[in-house]
């Protein structure tokens, strides 16, 4: 990582002052006058954090051991121990949603990352109109879910789909029914996810590409490396920390989002696009099975945690830092 610009600020200040080392030692010897001041500084944030995150978290823990719909009030809580968790093991819909989540996340995240890498490498070269290209790829990422859902609902329209009209023009005789087909609904959502996320991945990759020293490429050129060899031996290895970052945050993000699915398919046709996050939403806010929704959320948390730890281990073995 490059030296932070603010470090240059040291020089104008230090000459007239005692050497920095003495300053630091003096500070350590006499601890800050009032340590309660520290609590005062974090208090506003900590208070909100306790109320809006810790308290709900504790509640989510408790209620996952209960049978409860919110309508019957606090008195309606019925403690059932691990009942929700054993129910969930027998719940075919839960396993189905887990499988759908794996398909959705497993395809959309790597494809988005790959697309972002391709776009970034191309944009890092001397292409005419780079600024405009970057904007074009980035716009979907800053578009809100509802607008994305709206435009794709129309593009996938069962009768008038402009997309399918275009495909027919290209010679595809029987284009997919997209959201109306239980086979194609999931791919349809994955296409949207890649379209919406590639620009973000590209921006992150572009920042990483700028950190790769041009000397490496010059040396490779002198040795007569082809562009594929340059990519395989320099670019790709040096981008692995970024790739892992995008995969991990991508998996976490994609497994949690349910807005687009709520908007476009409501989990259907049948249960073809009911992913775990949407199943949780349904249990909580459509069936009012709060205890069960909380139990499902914990399972999801465990899954995300395991996946993160696993990727982290893989990363430690594979990542190249410059």
């Amino acid at each position: 990582m490059a030296a932070h610009p603010s470090e240059s600020v040291i020089n104008p200040v230090t000459p007239g002052r005692p050497a920095p080392a003495t300053g630091t030692r003096a500070r350590r010897r006499s601890p800050l006058p009032s340590s309660w001041l520290g609590y005062l500084f974090i208090l506003p944030n900590l208070l909100g954090f306790a109320i809006f995150t810790l308290l709900p978290l504790a509640f989510a823990f408790a209620v996952s051991f209960a049978n409860w719909d919110v309508i019957s009030g606090i008195d309606g809580i019925e403690w059932i121990g691990f009942g929700n968790f054993s129910d969930l093991l027998r719940d075919g819909n839960f396993w189905g949603s887990l499988k759908n989540t794996a398909v959705y996340v497993g395809f959309s995240v790597p494809l988005t990352t790959l697309a972002g890498m391709g776009v970034a490498i191309a944009l890092n070269g001397p292409i005419p109109g780079r600024t405009i290209l970057r904007l074009i790829f980035f716009i979907p990422f800053i578009t809100n879910t509802v607008a994305i859902g709206a435009v794709w609902l129309l593009l996938y329209h069962p009768r008038y789909s402009p997309l399918n009209n275009g495909l027919r023009n290209l010679g595809v005789e029987d284009p997919p029914a997209w959201l109306a087909s239980s086979t194609w609904a999931m791919p349809a959502l994955i296409i949207i996810a890649v379209w919406a996320g590639a620009g973000y991945a590209a921006i992150i990759y572009l920042a990483a590409l700028q950190d790769i020293s041009p000397d490496l490429y010059e040396a490779a050129n002198l040795d007569g490396a082809t562009s594929w060899e340059r990519f395989r031996s320099i670019t790709f290895p040096l981008l692995t920390p970024t790739t892992f970052f995008l995969l991990v945050t991508g998996f976490i993000g994609a497994s949690q989002s349910f807005g687009l699915i709520n908007l476009m398919t409501e989990g259907g046709p049948g249960r073809a696009t009911t992913v775990l996050s949407y199943y949780i939403y349904q249990n909580g806010f459509e069936f009012y099975r709060f205890g069960y929704a909380a139990a499902l959320s914990w399972v999801m948390f465990a899954g995300v945690l395991l996946l993160t730890l696993f990727l982290w281990r893989v990363q430690r073995r594979m990542v190249h830092y410059e």
Binding site: A2, H4, E7, V9, G23, P31, L32, S35, F41, N45, L47, G48, F49, F52, T53, P56, L57, V119, A122, I127, L133, L135, I136, I139, P140, T143, N144, T145, V146, A147, A150, W152, L153, L155, P162, N165, N169, I204, L206, A207, S213, P214, D215, E218, L222, D223, G224, A225, S233, F245, I252, S255, Q256, G259, S277, I280, S297, W298, M300, F301
Partner: protein, 305 residues
């Protein structure tokens, strides 16, 4: 930075692995290179046009009469151009102006509040000594990977109990006290040289003055990053309002937009597209104006996290 990278790393790795071609020709483009460059550029523009197509179609349809929206082949430049869709979605049955007001209120309140509480806490975590500081910070970090879903149900219940369910406070309050903002700013504050605070302390400044007069002015890029990200996330958030709001008077832009989708047959495709364009436009404008800061914000939120 270039000088800091050991140049031999690349050189040694390649030495002997590739046949040496004409030495010193790397600066001159031969014909193969030029052809490849043209192909890559053309391909890139083609892919970009495909990426742009849904958005272009959205804009074009928003300016068409309803009967022209699905006409094929697609007319990318509408004829005749009509602004009636925009008049309807801005001032009609479900007026976007109202939703935009709500969205702006929520986003501004969140940004201001988050900048304040997060920068204060970040200063304490980065610069002050007190018992339990590290334990609290670890607790903060641990909650970063907790799925949003886990908090949805209990927050819903909590908001009903404390009376902010179905009010804009349900969107504002949790957005003010974020772990992410605290973490982002703390990471930046750590890079500000300790000597600056020490010097100020020798001159008799207290923590509040160091925070307000030294750290905050130096942290402007990080504060701008947080402000941009918080604003855009707040503006685009659909899932929180979906769960927490029921009264149409409180709807934010994304939730208001669903009014044009849900009722299917009752509304027209052209209206939905006009609403969508209106909802995206403010964010695109912010991006165009603050492009450099915006990209820096994303890079910062990502790579240093």
């Amino acid at each position: 930075m270039v000088a800091a990278t050991p140049p031999h790393v690349g050189a040694s790795r390649f030495k002997g692995r590739f046949r040496r071609r004409r030495e010193g020709t790397s600066a001159v483009m031969d014909r193969g290179t030029i052809i490849r460059w043209v192909v890559v550029a053309l391909l890139m523009w083609l892919v970009a046009m495909l990426f742009l197509a849904p958005f272009a179609w959205m804009v074009a349809s928003s300016l068409k009469r309803e009967i022209d929206v699905f006409r094929f082949p697609i007319r990318w430049i509408p004829e005749p151009v009509t602004w009636a869709n925009y008049t309807e979605v801005w001032t009609g049955t479900y007026p976007l102006t109202k939703y935009i007001g709500n969205s702006l209120l929520v986003a501004v309140a969140r940004v201001v509040g988050e900048l304040f509480t997060a920068s204060l806490a970040a200063y304490a975590f980065a610069r002050m000594q007190f018992r339990g500081r590290n334990a609290i910070f670890v607790l903060y970090l641990a909650t970063l990977i907790i799925p949003h879903q886990l908090l949805l149900v209990p927050r819903f219940i909590l908001y009903r109990e404390i009376g902010i369910y179905d009010t804009l406070w349900a969107l504002i309050l949790p957005g003010i006290f974020t772990v992410f903002g605290t973490f982002l700013l703390r990471q930046f504050f750590m890079t500000i040289p300790q000597e600056l605070s020490d010097a100020a302390r020798v001159d008799g400044a207290n923590d509040w003055q160091i925070y307000w007069r030294i750290i905050l002015p130096l942290a402007k890029p990080a504060l701008a990053s947080l402000a941009i990200l918080a604003f855009v996330w707040s503006w685009n958030d659909y899932e929180t309002p979906l769960v927490m709001l029921v009264s149409e008077a409180n709807f934010t832009v994304p939730l208001g937009l669903t009014r044009y989708i849900d009722e299917g047959g009752g509304f027209s495709a052209a209206l939905i597209m006009a609403g969508s364009v209106s909802s995206v436009l403010p964010v695109v404008v912010i991006f165009l104006i603050l492009q450099r800061q915006f990209i820096a914000a994303l890079a910062r939120s990502g790579l240093k996290g």
